[in-house]
Amino acid sequence: MSEEYKCDICGAPATVHLTQIVDGKIHKVHLCEKCAAKSKVAELPILKFTEMLAKTLIGGKKDTDELASTESVGREAGKVCPVCGMTDLVFGKKHLFGCAHCYEVFSEEMTELLPKIQRGRQYRGDAGTRTASKKSSAKKDTSAELERLRLRLKDAVKNEDYVLAAKLRDEMHALEKPKKNKRVSAPKETGKTSAKRKSVTSRVRKSSSKGKKE
């Protein structure tokens, strides 16, 4: 899906599309209804307005385009999903998760984003009963998965692929002691969320054994 139609600020579907020509250059801004209303679109010059919104809404973080350009220059990403390789730089721009595990890795970003795009923070659908039975079976796979990762790590070191090796190491850490693993996921975590995290990781674990081919 094209990112053009996502809100530049919060990633929700954009309904307000602005185009401004400054010094012969075309600048386009896409916003959702809420972000547009918050900032009184019509009264502000667009360029200034994007900066201001980025500051006020994302809390002083750099504007998304800037984030993207730093990535292309090769600056290292702050957080990388060990399963799919999604970085916080790309997530910050596209607001798309690359896999189920990303929900954990970018939980901080998600917490920030949620009030702007969703009604609540907690799932309230009726599929609760469905998952209860599946959880226990997922746990068993941990040791097998660790062994698999260990082998892959050995291969990676042998092939001098240290980027992959680092990812695998982090992944193994995450499996061994999910609570202490602060390198990959958000620094502050309450007991409540880490309890939830387990259920996500267990799912990832169970199935990443199928994902060898990629």
């Binding site: 209804e33 896999c99 990629e214």
Partner: protein, 362 residues
């Protein structure tokens, strides 16, 4: 099981007509977004992995009695025109394309599973008119059956995990396609969009995110999927779409009573142009057809005309004209397309008598 596009094409000739009771609504769709656990979402998956996901979903759906004889298409096998045909039928979104993408469409076209769009699976059920209940029931049933053989990514906190966090949770999006010329002509649409936003709904163009609202067709859908249950979403959509339809009809009545003669004139001209034109562009026919649809709802045409107009609504689209022509062995460029479109309108409207108006001179 079948993958013959020609066979599918032949099956789309006579569609079910809309519900007479709800004049402002063109159709309803219930959609679930789901991903397979343990596999990267399409945005981070290579062709090989996407193919594997498609295979798994196709195989799972072939086991369902509802989809055993369905059409299974791989998007890389379809020409651009055929893909557009599916978009115009609303079976797929404009975003579904590329290697590994696929679609499963049931014989009666009430169910369409998009594979490897933004998420691994986008399960859609359609119903004519505002029959939310039947679309909901069939979507729900298929989803439950598929969940038996496919392990969907799920967390207790975020519910069903989707590529875009705006779909996480229930993954449920209910859309009602509404024809709202009254609001548009009254200049009220912006207000309506803001009001919808306040209650947790959004209005988009007829073909979803980022599309334009040609012919005054809007897609009204729920905005939130997290922190809201399926039942609440359904109730929210039921309540507000009925409200919108009522308000829209009131806006039309106000407009008609305010400028009766001018309105009648526009309708008569729209009918005349569509009935006798030799060449019609897609944009022009959409605008004119929108007027005829209002006229039907205002009883200027005999009953039964709206069904005819609703059929034209899809048949007039570019890829529909091109695919139908290709089916009969005619190669279609833009000029020929416009000629064929005009011919379609001349033939179809010859069965519809001209609109009847009261005498405004009295």
């Amino acid at each position: 099981m079948s993958s013959g596009f020609d066979e599918f094409l032949a099956g789309t000739v006579s569609r079910e007509s809309a519900n007479e009771a709800c004049p402002c609504v063109l159709g309803t769709r219930v959609r679930f977004a789901r991903n397979l656990a343990g596999t990267s979402f399409p945005v981070r998956a290579g062709t090989e992995r996407k193919n594997e996901v498609r295979k798994r979903i196709f195989e799972a759906s072939k086991k369902l009695p509802e989809l055993a004889d369905a059409f299974y298409f791989s998007l890389e096998d379809l020409s651009a025109t055929r893909r557009d045909f599916l978009i115009e039928c609303r079976c797929i979104s404009p975003e579904l394309s590329g290697d590994g993408a696929g679609v499963v469409i049931s014989r009666n076209q009430r169910i369409a599973l998009m594979v490897n769009e933004e998420d691994h699976l986008r399960l859609q059920a359609f119903a004519p008119g505002n029959d939310l209940g039947s679309a909901w029931t069939s979507a729900r049933e298929i989803e439950k059956k598929l969940a038996d053989s496919l392990n969907f990514a799920f967390s207790e906190k975020y519910g069903f995990l989707t590529a875009c966090p705006t779909n996480a949770g229930t993954g449920l999006r209910i859309s009602v396609m509404m024809h709202l010329p009254g609001f548009v002509m009254d200049g009220q649409m912006e207000k309506i969009v803001r009001a919808l936003d306040a209650v947790g709904l959004t209005a988009r163009g007829g073909f979803g995110e980022g599309s334009d609202a040609r012919g005054c067709v809007f897609q009204i859908s729920n905005e939130y999927t997290l922190g809201i249950s399926e039942a609440e979403t359904l109730a929210l959509m039921r309540r507000w779409t009925c409200d919108i339809a009522e308000q829209e009809l009131a806006a039309r009545r106000r407009m008609i009573s305010r400028e009766r003669a001018q309105f009648a004139d526009r309708i008569a001209r729209a009918y005349g142009n569509l009935r006798y034109a030799v060449s019609l562009t897609s944009a022009e026919s959409t605008e004119l057809l929108s007027l005829l649809r209002i006229a039907c709802d205002a009883d200027y045409f005999p009953s039964g005309t709206r069904e005819c107009i609703d059929e034209l609504w899809t048949e007039k689209d570019r890829a529909h004209i091109a695919c139908r022509a290709a089916f009969r062995g005619i190669v279609c460029d833009e000029e020929r397309e416009n000629l064929l479109r005009a011919k379609l309108f001349r033939e179809t409207l010859s069965a519809v008598r001209p609109p009847v108006f009261p005498d405004f001179l009295k």
